[in-house]
């Protein structure tokens, strides 16, 4: 495969974890690289490179996206939330607390993506059923935990009244 480099770049303005950011980015720059290399936000992780594993998940305007295949220019004018923006200072998000409490963290490589996907789900549906949580996590892989404790942690944060399976 021949890569034809494009040397032009453009300015984007976005909000990252509540703070306005202005950046010059090349058109092919991926959001994941911009977050990790330019903004030093290393919480989003690179794994599959093809939108399957979810390790790079961040929220763009509240919706989970795979930053590994999302162009930085697409984030222009939008709000990006990464795992670094989940806690309010030292006060953890309830999902972060629950992940610790339920032992939903092992190697930690999937954790940021899991947390953000769960955040989006609970914003959309505060009382999801266990089956709905599992289904919503279809784009987030974990090879360590077997998912049991991740589902438990997310369900512990759901509002009462969630459907059963």
């Amino acid at each position: 495969m021949n890569v034809i480099p494009i040397r032009s770049s453009s300015e984007i303005r976005l909000t990252v974890n509540g703070r306005p950011v202005t950046l010059e980015v090349r058109p092919e720059a991926l959001l994941l690289d911009v977050l990790r290399d330019r903004l030093q936000l290393k919480g989003a992780r690179r794994s599959c490179d093809m939108q399957v594993c979810g390790a790079c998940t961040v929220l763009v305007d509240g919706a989970p996206v795979s930053a590994c295949t999302y162009l930085a220019v697409e984030a222009d004018g939008r709000e990006v939330l990464t795992v670094e923006g989940l806690a309010d200072g030292d006060r953890l998000d309830p999902l972060q607390e629950a992940f610790i409490e339920h032992g939903a963290v092992q190697c930690g490589f999937c954790t940021a993506g899991m947390l953000l996907t769960a955040k989006a789900l609970l914003a959309e549906e505060p009382s999801p059923s266990p089956a709905r949580v599992a289904e919503y996590l279809r784009g987030n892989l974990c090879r360590c935990t077997g998912y049991r404790k991740i589902l438990d942690a997310i369900l512990a944060c759901a509002a009462p009244g969630g459907g059963t399976r």
């Binding site: 795992v83 972060q96 963290v105 930690g108 490589f109 947390l115 090879r143 360590c144 049991r148 589902l151």
Partner: protein
Amino acid sequence: MSARTGFRVVGQSVRRTDALEKVTGRARYLSDLELPGMAHARLLRSPHAHARIVRVDVARARALPGVHAVLAASDLTFCDPAYGPALRDRPLLASEVVRYEGEPVVAVAADDEATAVEALDLVEVDYEELPAVTTLEDALAPGAPLVHTAEPLAGHFSDLSTLRAKPGTNICHQFDYGRGDVEAALAAAHLVLEETYTFPRIQHYSMEPHGAVARWDDEGGLTVWASTQNPFSVRAELAAMFALPASRIRIAVPLLGGGFGGKTYAKLEPIAAALARVARRPVRLLASVEDAFRTVRRCSARVTLRLGFLRDGRLDALACRADFDVGAYADIAPRVIQKGTYTATGPYRVSHVQLHSNAVYTNTTPGGAFRGFGVPQIVWGVESMMDIAAGRLERDPVDLRRQNLLAHGEEFAPGDTPVDGKLEESLGRLAEAIRWSDTVPPGRARGIAAMMKASVAPSVSEAIVRLHADGSANVLVSTVEMGQGARTVMAQIAAEVLALPLARVRIVPPDTSITPYDQTSSSSRSTTMVGRAVQEAAEDVVGQLRKIAAGKLGVAAGRLRVEDGAVVSGRTRLPYPDLLDHHFGMRGGELIGRGVVAPGRTAAPLGGSTPFWEVAMGGAEIALDEETGAISVEAYASVSDVGRCINPQQCAAQDEGAVMQGLGHTLLEEMVYEGGQLLNGDLVGYRVPRAGDLPPRLQTRFVENGDGAGPFGAKGVGEGGLIPVSPAVANALARLTGVRLRELPLTPERVWRALRERRQRDATDRTTGGPGDV
């Protein structure tokens, strides 16, 4: 203090010490490391399974601005380019011949990854394709093309110095073990079963692919930050490669994003080090997931078993002949095949045993260590056949297994480690958990399986505990934290012995120039081996504290105890900082404790008795969609004998993860080759378990009799839970449908075809009046 155990920290599900950094994104992995002036590396990989390299032209790549190093095999004059832990059969970069699709041929380091990719596009390589062998059948056929033609040198493991290759074939190692007279016993047996089972190539898919950052210093020393499970093996490999003393090499290990065996032994570190040497700057080499598929995998296997039972159900004879496909380079596969084969009799007492296995080269991704280390491949067959035998003997599968279990304290084999758990208790707990005696709901069936696995031996772990002047402590061990929770467990052990709060104990990350020797973070060994070393090192510190206190108080040291950060004698409390003040005559100085666990070599087969037996049993309840052949696991119960849970939550986490990984190779996963090409070497084509694949009921239970060889009677956990999954599910399928599958994974297509065949056969039998067969 727990009333049940008498422990303060041990046995508690304390929060993981690394959880906060992981949920906040502050945890640092190899790919987060940036060094000033660091170059970024990429590899050009072979498009062919087997080919002669006719020409490599890197001139244009070298001339590209921003490129700092371009290496082909012919450039590696400054090092010994051969490596490998068992056999030094692997070239750092392919030289003259490529032996699998994806083998590194040229390495580039440049200012950034884009430039490195651009440079690789400018490299020209001409190949002349050679006939390839990608299956065991092809590789073992008479006159098969040979993957290796020269006899390689032994690697750095002394216990493999007796490697038995079969010259002129693709067999790079053979393992044999026997006792009794199998042929006579089989001839006399009431029931003899002979069957062949196959196990596929499986990818670890640790979410973090392999990576290494290498930097040479001005004095000729080498530092490599590596995502490795065993930094000391990597150090040994690099020391031999670059003719450096171990003291000049530093391997530092950040948090790992999973390992599962795929990060044992040198992988990318040699190439990164060679590039950094030439580039004269730090070099970072990060694999992609697609690269990982071309770095290491689980050895596939074809296992033929003969089991002989006496009329009363006793398993009297077991013969096993296993061919393991180890891919293009041996990696640690020779040890995988012998460890896996040696425990073919599992948790059972068998008088007559004959085992033979071959490690067979093929032109595919090298096979190496993977959670279970050769055992799942064998247990898949043996435990399927235990159920077949139960059917033929008209016995209950739980009952037949119970009859044959080894007793507590009984030697596994003459001269080898006695069984250190109560196997019957595990089986009983499993039967209870999976509701074996309860009526099965319509359309469902249950199946069980059991396994026993040896850990690595001989084995060495060392630990240093430093108690500082303020009464806090550092624990120096080289255990790699890859998700299994080892750092938390080590902190718990040290905190327990030192009578300190967990928060006052800090585990120092592995760094071969700082933390003491540890063989490997694998083989479920860390809690047992490193844990014992930590316990000893902490006890050493406590002994010193008591001696100091005894001198100060004028009482016998033996009458003093430690409690809540102080040495206590009756009503007198001497906090550690005060004792250190007293000892050193100032606020400064520290007490250093040392622990060494090294059981050494024994007369047992394979050169050492396992320090402990990992025991796990599993039971599955499944349903089946007969239209599609899709199996759904509705309930799964896993029971592990861990001696004692140091951290019950993390033990459960290990087994939940192990079961799901086991369900992966049972139902979904297989690396597929066609014409020497890996067809599904990425996560779109290779399907690992997702959250939706979690059985609605997944239970993990633990047998805790405090009889393990590790600290506080604990022993290893982590691999065992994965191993019974395949036969448990297949046994359930057989009980549900009468269909017995001997090939993994149990894909809908395979199940559907088997069901159709059975229906057709049933129909034929009905018309001809022939016998039905199950």
